[in-house]
C-alpha cells in the first residue's frame, strides 16, 4: 500500500499540466529544410528570453509525431513544421489553431501581402481561401536544371516544352560522350509522383477532376505517362529506384545533362567540394507542352497545434520567424524564402543567381491535390508509375489501375 502511495506521489507531477512559462517546443524536419528554423529558434531565444526546445525529427517521423500530437491534443509541441501535402490532413477537424483571431488580437487583418500568394494559399483549409492555419516558411518549388555550357556549345536554349527536352536529350546524348541526356527519379511513392505531375499537367491532364474524382482515364494522361517512359531511354539505368539524391549525384558528377530537382540542391551545384559542374548549371522554369509548365509546390509551413498551452507565445514566434528580416536571415542560411521582398533583395540576388527563376517557379507552381488522403493516393499512384517505367506493366494498365485504386481509396474514406 505504502509502495502504491509513493508511486502515485512520484507520478503526479508527470501527469500535471506543464507550467505555462517562457518556453516553446518546436518540431522541426531533420534536413536542409529545417536548418534555417533551428538557427532562427536559437536567435529567438537570445533576443526574447523564451527558452526554445527543438525536437528534430526525420521526415517520416515528423508526420507520425505531428499526427499523434494533433490527434491526442497532447500539447507536446507549440509549433510544428510541416510539408504542405500533409496540411489538409493535419488541418482537418480543428487540430490546428486558426490564425485569423490571433492576427485580430494583434491589431492586424492577416498576413501581409509580401508573402508569395501561392505559398500563402497552401496555408488555408479548405484550399485556397478557407481558414488560415499556418504560415509558409520554406518556399520550395522545383526547377529545371540543365547543363548551360553544353547547351551553349550546341547553340541550344533552355527547353520550353517537354518535346524540346526530349530532342535536346537525344542530340546531346549522341554527341557528348559519357552523358545521359536526362535524369529523372521514378522510385515508388513521392519520387515518381513528384517527377511525373509536371509532365501530366503540361500534357493537359490531371490526377483528380475538380469534383475530386480520379481523372486518369484520358488520352492526355496516357500521352503524358508514355512520354515519361520514353524519357527513360535518356536516363541512367536503374532510375526506377532513384530519388532526389541520385539525380543530384548524376548532375554533380557530370554524368547527366538535365533534370528536375528541388532548390535545396542549387548551392551544391556551385560548391567545388561537392561538384564537378561549378557555374555550368543553368536553372529554368519547368517545361510546358499543351499547357504552360508548372512546378509541384513543396513548401514547408509553420503551424500551432490546438493542444498547445502557449498559443500566444507560439504565434509571436511564428510572426517573428516569418517577418522579412528573419526570412532574409533564413535565406542567407540557404532556405528558399516565401516572401517576394526577400527574393528581390539586391544583395541576395547577387549571391543566389537562381532567385528570379525560383520566384517565378513558386508563383506559377501548383500544389499537389488537396486531400487528407494524399499520402495513400501518392504512394499507390507512385508505385504504378514506377512499375510502368520499369516496364512490368503497360502505360494503359498503370493508369487504369491507378484510376481504380484512387477511386477505392476515396470510397473507403468518404
Amino acid at each position: 500500500m505504502r509502495f502504491i502511495g509513493v508511486s502515485v506521489l512520484l507520478l503526479l507531477p508527470a501527469c500535471a499540466r506543464p507550467p505555462a512559462g517562457p518556453r516553446l517546443v518546436v518540431a522541426v524536419n531533420a534536413g536542409v529544410e529545417g536548418d534555417a528554423l533551428k538557427h532562427a529558434a536559437a536567435d529567438y531565444q537570445r533576443v526574447s528570453g523564451v527558452r526554445m526546445e527543438i525536437v528534430e525529427l526525420p521526415y517520416s517521423n515528423l508526420f507520425e509525431k505531428a499526427m499523434l500530437d494533433l490527434d491526442g491534443r497532447t500539447g507536446a509541441y507549440d509549433v510544428i513544421m510541416m510539408d504542405d501535402p500533409w496540411f489538409p490532413r493535419l488541418a482537418s477537424h480543428q487540430k490546428l489553431v486558426p490564425l485569423e483571431p490571433l492576427y485580430r488580437l494583434a491589431g492586424l487583418s492577416g498576413p501581409d501581402a509580401d508573402f508569395v500568394a501561392t505559398s500563402l494559399q497552401l496555408c488555408h483549409e479548405p484550399y485556397p481561401n478557407g481558414r488560415l492555419y499556418a504560415l509558409p516558411y520554406v518556399g520550395n518549388s522545383p526547377l529545371f536544371f540543365y547543363r548551360k555550357d553544353l547547351f551553349d556549345k550546341h547553340g541550344l536554349t533552355a527547353p520550353r516544352t517537354w518535346h524540346e527536352v526530349r530532342d535536346a536529350a537525344r542530340r546531346l546524348q549522341e554527341s557528348e560522350r559519357g552523358f545521359y541526356g536526362y535524369v529523372m527519379r521514378a522510385a515508388p511513392g513521392n519520387a515518381a509522383t513528384t517527377d511525373f505531375m509536371p509532365i501530366l499537367w503540361a500534357f493537359g491532364a490531371d490526377l483528380l477532376a475538380p469534383d475530386g474524382a480520379p481523372r486518369l482515364d484520358t488520352p492526355e494522361a496516357a500521352e503524358a505517362l508514355s512520354f515519361m517512359v520514353e524519357m527513360g531511354r535518356f536516363t541512367p539505368p536503374g532510375y526506377v529506384s532513384f530519388n532526389a539524391d541520385e539525380i543530384a549525384a548524376h548532375l554533380l558528377q557530370s554524368t547527366a545533362i538535365m533534370s528536375i530537382n528541388w532548390p535545396s540542391w542549387i548551392s551544391a551545384m556551385d560548391d567545388p567540394v561537392k561538384s564537378r559542374v561549378v557555374d555550368k548549371i543553368g536553372f529554368a522554369l519547368l517545361p510546358g507542352q499543351r499547357e504552360p509548365g508548372r512546378a509541384v509546390l513543396g513548401n514547408w509551413l509553420l503551424a500551432i497545434p490546438a493542444g498547445s498551452h502557449r498559443v500566444d507565445a507560439a504565434f509571436t514566434f511564428l510572426r517573428w520567424a516569418t517577418d522579412p528580416a528573419q526570412m532574409r536571415q533564413a535565406a542567407e542560411r540557404g532556405g528558399p524564402p516565401t516572401r517576394r521582398s526577400v527574393f528581390l533583395d539586391p544583395a541576395l540576388l547577387r549571391r543566389f543567381r537562381a532567385y528570379p527563376v525560383q520566384l517565378a517557379s513558386l508563383e506559377t507552381g501548383r500544389p499537389r491535390p488537396r486531400t487528407p488522403h494524399w499520402n495513400e493516393i501518392e504512394n499507390i499512384f507512385g508505385v504504378l508509375i514506377s512499375k510502368a517505367n520499369a516496364g512490368s506493366i503497360s502505360v494503359a494498365d498503370a493508369l487504369a489501375r491507378a484510376q481504380k485504386e484512387i477511386a477505392d481509396i476515396q470510397r473507403r474514406n468518404p
Partner: protein, 288 residues
C-alpha cells in the same frame, strides 16, 4: 504470543510471488494484444471484420505477402547453405582458424541500417564500387542495376541479408558441430564410411535440433524484416521488394489506418506462428 499464532507480517503464498511478473506481462503484452485486436476490428461504421475481408481482395497485400515468403525462403536457403558450409570448414583444425572465425562475425555485429547504407553505396549502378570494379575489368555493367530493376531487386536485397546474417547461422551450426560426440564419427570411419555418408547419416541427423533452432530464429527475423529493405529500396522499384511489414508501416503511419494495419499484423503473426510450430514439432521429433 501463543505458539500457533500466524507470523506478522504474513508470508505471501507462492502465487503472490508471480503477481508482479503477471502484472508486467499484462501491462506490456496482454493489454496491447487485446487493444490491437480491438483496433483491427474498428471500421468507419463501428466494429466488424471488414478489415480482414478486405485483406483477401487487396492485391497489394497479397503480393507483399507472397514477396515476404519469397524473401524469407530465398535468404534462408542461402544463409543455411553457406552457414553450414562455413561451419564444416572451420570446424577443422588449421592455422588462422580463429582469425577467420572472428572476421566472419563482423557483418552480424553491424546495425542493419548501416549494412543497408553500405550496400546501397556499393551496389549503386553508376558510382558503386562493385560495378566500377567490374567495368575496370571489362565486364559490361549496363544491365547490372541491382536495386534499380524489378528483376534483380529482390535477389539483391536477399544477398544483402545473406551477407549480414550467414555468420549467425554459421555461429549456431558451428556450436552444434562442436557439441557432437566424437565416438559415432570414429566408429563410422573405422567401418569404412565415406565423408558424404558420415555427413548424411550422422552429422545432419545429430545436428537437427540445432538446425531447427537456427532456422526458426532466422525465419522469424526474416518474416518481420523492415529496416534493411526500407533503406535499400523502400519496397521498389514499383512494388518489387515490398514486404508485409513495409506495407503495414505505410498503412499505419503514412495512411493513418491503424485498423487495417493491425489486421495485417495478425495475419503475419498467424503465419509466423504456424511456421514456428512446424519447426518446433521437427525439433521434438527424434531421428529414427
Amino acid at each position: 504470543m501463543t505458539p500457533h499464532s500466524a507470523p506478522w507480517p504474513p508470508t505471501p503464498g507462492p502465487r503472490a510471488w508471480v503477481l508482479p511478473a503477471i502484472a508486467v506481462l499484462a501491462l506490456l503484452s496482454i493489454y496491447p494484444l487485446l487493444f490491437a485486436i480491438e483496433v483491427s476490428l474498428r471500421t468507419p461504421a463501428g466494429h466488424g471484420f471488414s478489415n480482414f475481408t478486405r485483406l483477401v481482395q487487396d492485391r497489394f497485400f497479397l503480393v507483399a505477402l507472397a514477396q515476404t515468403l519469397v524473401y524469407t525462403a530465398g535468404a534462408l536457403v542461402i544463409e543455411f547453405t553457406l552457414g553450414l558450409g562455413l561451419a564444416l570448414l572451420l570446424h577443422r583444425e588449421f592455422r588462422g582458424r580463429q582469425v577467420f572465425r572472428s572476421l566472419l562475425l563482423i557483418p552480424m555485429l553491424l546495425p542493419p541500417v548501416v549494412v543497408a547504407v553500405i550496400w546501397r553505396l556499393i551496389l549503386n549502378p553508376e558510382f558503386g564500387v562493385l560495378n566500377g570494379t567490374l567495368r575496370s575489368l571489362g565486364v559490361p555493367t549496363a544491365s547490372l542495376t541491382w536495386f534499380g530493376s524489378e528483376r534483380t531487386a529482390m535477389l539483391s536485397v536477399i544477398l544483402v541479408d545473406a551477407w549480414q546474417w550467414t555468420p549467425f547461422m554459421f555461429l549456431l551450426l558451428l556450436a552444434g558441430l562442436q557439441g557432437l560426440p566424437v565416438e559415432p564419427f570414429e566408429a563410422a570411419r573405422v567401418d569404412g564410411a565415406s565423408s558424404l555418408q558420415i555427413f548424411r547419416r550422422l552429422t545432419l541427423p545429430m545436428l537437427r535440433p540445432v538446425i531447427a533452432i537456427a532456422v526458426l530464429l532466422r525465419t522469424m527475423d526474416l518474416l518481420r524484416v523492415f529496416d534493411q529493405i526500407f533503406i535499400l529500396t523502400q519496397g521498389g522499384p514499383g512494388f518489387a521488394t515490398e514486404t508485409v511489414t513495409l506495407y503495414i508501416y505505410r498503412t499505419a503511419f503514412r495512411y493513418w489506418n491503424f485498423g487495417y494495419a493491425a489486421a495485417m499484423s495478425f495475419v503475419l503473426l498467424a503465419a509466423t506462428t504456424i511456421i514456428a510450430r512446424a519447426f518446433l514439432r521437427l525439433l521434438r521429433e527424434q531421428p529414427a
